[in-house]
């Protein structure tokens, strides 16, 4: 293990790895990534794979528009297939109020170049013939949304970062951060100390613990909540191509994996704050019920697995990204709720720009870590699951 590095990133999930890769791409390659387990074992490998630009606020729409541009070229850029497919996102809408609010979102999305639109229940059934549209009065549809493989994406970012000189240490836990006179001196790990002047907190569900280690004096509320996912046995390819979402049915979302053929998804049941991620029977029943409501044919399909993972939540459901002013060269990118996987490419790019160039054209102000202390909550990000 290196005893000194210019930058130490704490957290080997998709966010930490994307930041590491993007820093190295801008020639800041003296970077070490610390991961207390194996890469991706936090939230990233437990996610629902979805990637969407259908948000209800300007910042998330612009961030995701750019992220999707990066996702589109990621296979070429990183040299490994991440199985990104633009199979779309379909939000089922059941009453006038829901329809109106999605119409408003679609107008905003269109303004920033996202080609979403409101479609009829009949059109929704053309996209997913197995759909139960009882009670559906319309749907919000964007064909450039999609999904990717989190296992492959983590692998691809890690390999590309290593090729550019980044060092990644698994089973290496940050235990303490030495700060003197407002500047970082070192990160203490279970395998020894690394001298460094810059730390990036990418520990998501554990981010508050890292802030505590450094003595961050601002209140940045990020709490871990248990959410769960389910996967069925493979069904005939091409049955449920887009991500289908229904807020009416408890925030249920589901899609068929492009290469594996199983149906994957979850719903809004959550527990916490907690660091326990044991899967629950309540979820298994609840998710089966909701899947069968949306796609009745799924009644005849076997569930093969459920699992738990974290949503690292802030009070407004948006991440905290940026610099902590009181500690020189301490940055945070954490608290991604249910949309950190999709945001990872643009978050890595934006934070690397901020660090290397001192500025970025992405709307990072929206994710200002100081907003809670100022009592300035953002509009709640559109959440699923």
């Amino acid at each position: 293990m290196k005893s000194e590095a210019k930058t130490v990133i704490i957290g080997g999930g998709i966010i930490g790895l994307s930041i590491a890769y993007n820093l190295a791409k801008l020639s800041e390659s003296d970077v070490v990534v610390l991961e207390k387990g194996y890469l991706g074992n936090g939230s990233t490998f437990r996610c629902g794979t979805g990637i969407r630009q259908q948000f209800g606020d300007e910042a998330n729409i612009r961030m995701m528009k750019r992220s999707v541009e990066i996702w589109e070229g990621l296979k070429e850029e990183l040299g490994h297939d991440v199985e990104f497919t633009q199979s779309g996102y379909l939000f089922l809408l059941y009453d006038e109020e829901e329809l109106e609010s999605f119409k408003k979102n679609v107008r905003l999305q269109n303004k920033f170049g996202v080609p979403s639109r409101i479609i009829t229940p009949e059109e929704a059934r053309e996209i997913v013939p197995l759909l139960n549209t009882d009670g559906v009065i319309g749907a919000a549809w964007n064909h450039t949304d999609g999904k990717a493989n989190p296992f492959k994406a983590v692998f691809a970012y890690a390999e590309a970062a290593k090729r550019l000189g980044v060092e990644i240490y698994e089973y290496t836990e940050a235990k303490g951060i030495k700060v003197e006179n407002g500047g970082i001196k070192a990160v203490v790990t279970n395998r020894g100390e690394i001298k460094t002047g810059r730390v990036i907190n990418a520990a998501n569900a554990w981010a508050s613990k890292i802030n505590e280690m450094a003595g961050v004096p601002v209140d940045i509320p990020i709490h871990p909540y248990k959410h769960q996912g389910v996967k069925t046995e493979p069904i005939k390819p091409g049955q449920i191509e887009p991500m289908v979402v229904s807020f009416k049915h408890g925030g249920v979302y589901l899609t068929q994996e492009a290469n594996q053929g199983g149906v994957i998804g979850g719903y809004g049941l959550k527990y916490g704050p907690t660091y326990d991620i044991t899967p629950t029977y309540e979820f298994l029943r609840g998710v089966s019920y909701r899947f069968a409501r949306i796609i009745p044919a799924l009644k005849y399909v076997n569930v093969i697995r459920i699992w738990g993972g974290f949503y690292a939540e802030t009070p407004d459901g948006n991440a905290t990204i940026g610099r902590i002013n009181e500690i020189d060269e301490f940055y945070i990118a954490a608290g991604f709720s249910g949309h950190g996987f999709m945001l990872a490419p643009v978050v890595g790019e934006a934070l690397a720009e901020l660090i290397v160039d001192g500025k970025t054209n992405k709307p990072l102000d929206f994710y200002d870590p100081y907003r809670f202390e100022r009592g300035e909550l953002r509009g709640k990000a559109i959440q699923m699951g």
Binding site: Q260, P279, K299, N302
Partner: protein, 104 residues
């Protein structure tokens, strides 16, 4: 699924370790050769143990490959955690236990 490595005609490409997800002995050995010896990581990169059989066939085979290639004893290699449902169950059976009043 998309393979992690190209086909080269190596005989180990014909030996299937995981029948659910069609993973060969070569794919697993290639990962171990690049330093990935953690069964949880191998599982997530290749999908061994994640198909309908939930690892009943492949996990013991993979443990023996890891043991052979790394010189570890098989009992030193942690077995992946099993999760409910241990056997596949139909969604309709699970859903059927819920009344409509469970819906919000």
């Amino acid at each position: 699924m998309v393979k992690m490595t190209e086909n080269t005609g190596d005989p180990r490409e014909k030996i299937i370790i995981c029948r659910c997800n069609d993973v060969t002995q070569k794919e697993i050995e290639d990962l171990i050769d690049r330093g990935i010896t953690d069964i949880e990581e191998i599982k997530r990169l290749t999908r061994i143990g994640m198909g309908p059989c939930q690892g009943r066939t492949c996990i013991p085979l993979v443990i023996s490959i890891i043991a052979r290639k790394t010189g570890k004893k098989p009992d030193e290699i942690p077995v992946p955690a099993t999760r409910v449902p241990v056997r596949p169950v139909m969604m309709g059976v699970l859903a059927g236990e819920m009344g409509d009043d469970d819906e919000e």
